[in-house]
């Protein structure tokens, strides 16, 4: 690229990724017109904020929390209560700003819990977060006036006046509201990583001892980071309230806490955009895969364990592993070996899917005696033949994959060697 061009495209080269993301977000609902996919996109937007806020703890501050949904849920409850207060005409806040109520509510609780739980990181923090999560989840049923008991608290967003004058009835309008907040939150959370507190959160994660000898109290750094993470989780919860117009006790519970951990980890904690990928993938899997197969929990569990064992840096880590190779224009050396690996990986995948589906069909399906169909083929699960094929596919796939992996390693070795030579 010529220098002149570079200057002309300054906006693009520096902010290109952001602009592209914004455009995608704006045009997406035109490709996905059904109510279901728009609802899913809305849920994905909420999940992205939630997962990124979680990564402010796990990725950036090294705090493994088992109770992050406390803030998600509380944010939702604060928002729905404020929404109802607004509906009753006691105060006036436009609908577009209601998620902030969740954020500010959560940040206050976050400061208290943060102070109590972050004196030490590591296991003590993880256990305190687990305990606080259990306590809040249990008390959610004990305080029905705030949590609404089992029924939850519901509201009607149509009764609240909107700043933009839009009637927030249809899903598409809410989608854009969520998209706006998600985009704003992503930008803010990204910028936060560049602030003194953001840098110090990293410092405290890597070496709390040293951080205290440059004047910082690690406890305070963690507390503030924790409270800010709570803020964004609260915003996500607030959007949840506006989107579904109901908030129930399940939102503060262990399930969303576990979900956000999985999203973030699968996406990758080491890179800012990792949790975004994780939120998209996991939400998609939960909503769509569950429609395709009732065995989806097994696939999900296998995916999670697989990521922990083989790709602890997540999807983002795998992608970023290729950054230097891409920059050195050496991808063409890796691609052939990848292409070779795709085929056996597919066979192994096919075999595994068949194995799980057949076992599931026999054991837990509605009618095990009925013929089952998989990939358009109908067969009887009771006969030995499909089992034979399954075992055959798994063995062949596994064997070939071992060899393919060897090839991939080899080409990686070559690429690394070339890059080393070039840099020196």
């Amino acid at each position: 690229m010529k220098k002149k061009d570079k200057k002309g495209f300054f906006m693009w080269s520096k902010h290109g990724l952001w602009i592209a993301a914004m455009l995608i977000v704006i045009i997406l609902p035109f490709f996905f017109r059904s109510g279901f996919s728009r609802s899913m996109l809305s849920q994905i937007g909420i999940a992205i904020i939630f997962a990124l806020s979680y990564n402010m703890l796990l990725g950036q501050a090294g705090l493994l929390s088992f109770g992050h949904a406390v803030f998600y849920g509380l944010g939702g409850f604060f928002t729905i209560h404020i929404l109802n207060t607004v509906s009753n005409g006691v105060i006036t806040i436009p609908l577009e700003l209601l998620p902030l109520a969740g954020g500010f509510g959560a940040v206050i609780v976050g400061l208290v819990f943060g102070w109590l739980s972050t004196e030490r990181a590591g296991t003590p923090f993880a256990l305190i977060s687990l305990g606080i999560g259990e306590l809040i989840a249990a008390s959610s049923l004990m305080f029905p006036s705030f949590f609404g008991g089992e029924q939850g608290i519901s509201g009607d967003r149509m009764t609240v006046f909107a700043l933009t004058g839009i009637r927030f009835g249809k899903q598409i309008t809410i989608y854009y509201l969520i998209a706006f907040w998600a985009f704003l939150s992503i930008v803010l959370m990204y910028l936060l990583t560049q602030t003194p507190l953001g840098r110090l959160a990293n410092a405290v994660r890597d070496n709390p001892e040293r951080a205290s000898f440059i004047g910082y109290n690690p406890h305070w750094v963690r507390t503030l980071q924790y409270a800010l993470a709570a803020f964004f989780a609260g915003i996500a919860g607030g959007l949840f309230a506006v989107n579904y117009e109901i908030v129930t006790a399940e939102t503060v519970g262990f399930i969303p806490s576990g979900n956000v951990l999985m999203m973030t980890y699968i996406g990758g904690v080491g890179h800012f955009f990792g949790p975004i990928l994780g939120a998209v993938l996991v939400t998609f899997m939960q909503l769509s895969l569950a429609n395709m197969t009732h065995a989806w929990l097994i696939y999900f569990g296998l995916l999670f364990i697989g990521m922990v064992i083989w790709a602890p840096s997540g999807i983002a880590g795998i992608i970023m592993l290729h950054e230097p190779v891409w920059k050195a224009k050496l991808m063409k050396r890796l691609i052939p070996s990848y292409a070779l690996a795709v085929f056996p990986a597919l066979i192994l995948f096919l075999g595994t899917v068949m194995f799980i589906e057949i076992s599931y069909h026999l054991s837990l399906s509605v009618d095990p005696t009925a013929p089952m169909h998989l990939f358009g083929i109908h067969f009887r699960a009771q006969s030995l033949f499909p089992w034979g094929i399954t075992v055959f596919l798994i063995l062949i796939g596994f064997g070939l994959l071992q060899r393919a992996i060897k090839r991939v390693r080899q080409s990686w070795g070559e690429v690394n060697l070339i890059m080393k030579k070039e840099s020196s």
């Binding site: 490709f31 279901f36 029924q151 939850g152 117009e245 109901i246 769509s288």
Partner: protein, 420 residues
């Protein structure tokens, strides 16, 4: 450059999410929304099979109206349920049925009411087969909601009607889960017992956290100390099985009046500990056909057990699902179309003959009025207790039948009905 690559990759990932649109056929589709994976999947699974079987049976009669059941996995989550509601509406489904989770039923009523108001061209009906919170047909009632199960106050009225005649019951202990349903059972028990048997002493009244107690022995110790001879509990799942088992282990000799002792998976969990002690209130059990001599019903549910019940491992349980499907069949024919509003008006006030009497869908609150039975867990294989449940060797034996009319309760429902 690399960043651009990443953004493209993200875009492709998003584009992969194609929504699945199924072309609507001539058949009437009923969306079934309940947990189909995770810890409560057994409950949803059983419901789904019942609906499939009921649809099979109606379709087999060969009329021009056919039913198809489309399952959706609620995962017991409100947000996922609401998304699946949208999913179902996309697929042209106008009738949703659901049973597990009062939180979801409340949310569904709200969401469907709002949806029907905002989208008059795609109105949806909510057919409730199992959520028993009285509020749903009282202060929280809706034109778009119909309940085919007797709500908890009706069932409790049946229980207290039975207790009324049991002169040997002098002291009653109330133990319930500490949440809305548990509170409702507790409050209603106190009120109804006072009205029907003022001489009965409430020997104790305990609420315990839901799903957290592993060992009920301490509660049993309290029941024992109170000298109660009957226990009323709205507990379900392990909270109920563990209660009965702990009672047996301490030699507690009381009668348990329960809502859910016959629920799927409960009898195997309770085991012998419950024989002669545990009573349930239901609209059906599998020895009713013998007691009331209805061999047709035996044929019906045995057919289910063969097809979906794994030879009795997960047997027939929900008569009301059969009732619901047959009433829906009638209502759609009566309405002349599968339009939600017309079907709703057709269902209002409809009467229907089940094997065990006539049931009525009340127009005022959309609550089905049906006969209820109090039955006791007994050793099966005897002359009267023919069949056991879930191959346990234990089955149910009727103590008392409460006629449909007697179960009706006054309602506070003020329903807004759309113009016909």
């Amino acid at each position: 450059m690399f960043k651009k690559f990443v953004s493209v990759l993200m875009g492709v990932g998003l584009l992969l999410m194609m929504s699945s649109g199924v072309i609507a056929a001539e058949t009437v589709k009923i969306g079934f929304l309940d947990p189909l994976s995770g810890p409560f999947a057994n409950v949803g699974d059983a419901g789904y099979k019942h609906f499939k079987y009921a649809a099979d049976m109606i379709n087999a009669q060969g009329g021009d109206q056919r039913f198809e059941i489309v399952p959706f996995d609620s995962k017991l989550s409100v947000s996922e349920s609401l998304i699946h509601l949208k999913n179902a509406i996309d697929q042209g489904i106008r009738f949703m049925t659901h049973g597990t989770g009062s939180n979801i039923s409340g949310a569904l009523i709200e969401a469907i009411s709002k949806h029907n108001e905002r989208n008059p061209d795609q109105q949806v009906l909510y057919l409730n087969y199992s959520a028993v919170d009285p509020a749903l047909t009282n202060e929280g009632c809706s034109f778009w909601h119909f309940r085919f199960d007797s709500h908890s106050d009706m069932k409790l009225a049946a229980i207290t009607d039975y207790i009324k005649d049991q002169k040997n019951i002098k002291k009653v202990y109330l133990i319930n889960q500490d949440y809305v349903f548990g509170h409702a059972v507790r409050d209603a028990s106190i009120a109804m017992l006072k009205a029907k048997r003022p001489d009965i002493e409430i020997a104790g009244d305990t609420l315990h956290p839901i799903g957290k107690v592993k060992d009920f022995s301490p509660y049993i110790a309290m029941i024992k100390a109170s000298g109660a001879d009957a226990v009323i509990t709205g507990n379900f799942g392990s909270d109920m099985s563990l209660l009965v088992k702990a009672g047996k282990s301490a030699g507690l000799n009381v009668q348990y009046f329960t809502f859910y002792a016959g629920g799927i998976g409960s009898v195997p969990a309770i085991g012998e500990a419950g024989v002669g002690h545990v009573k349930q209130v239901t609209e059906w059990h599998n020895n009713l056909w013998f007691e009331e001599n209805k061999p047709d019903d035996e044929k019906y549910f045995m057919g289910y057990n063969r097809k979906y019940g794994g030879e009795g491992k997960a047997p027939f349980f929900f008569l009301r699902i059969r009732t619901m499907m047959e009433m829906m069949d009638k209502a759609i024919k009566k309405a002349g179309s599968a339009d939600a509003k017309n079907v709703a008006y057709a269902l209002e006030g409809m009467t229907h003959k089940t094997p065990y009497g006539t049931v009525t869908m009340q127009a005022s609150d959309h609550q089905l009025i049906q006969p209820l039975y109090i039955s006791t867990l007994s050793n099966a294989g005897t002359k009267t207790v023919k069949y056991d449940v879930e191959n346990t060797g234990f089955g149910w034996k009727t103590d008392k039948r409460i006629e449909a009319d007697a179960t009706a309760m006054p309602t506070t429902c003020k329903m807004e009905k759309p113009a016909r």
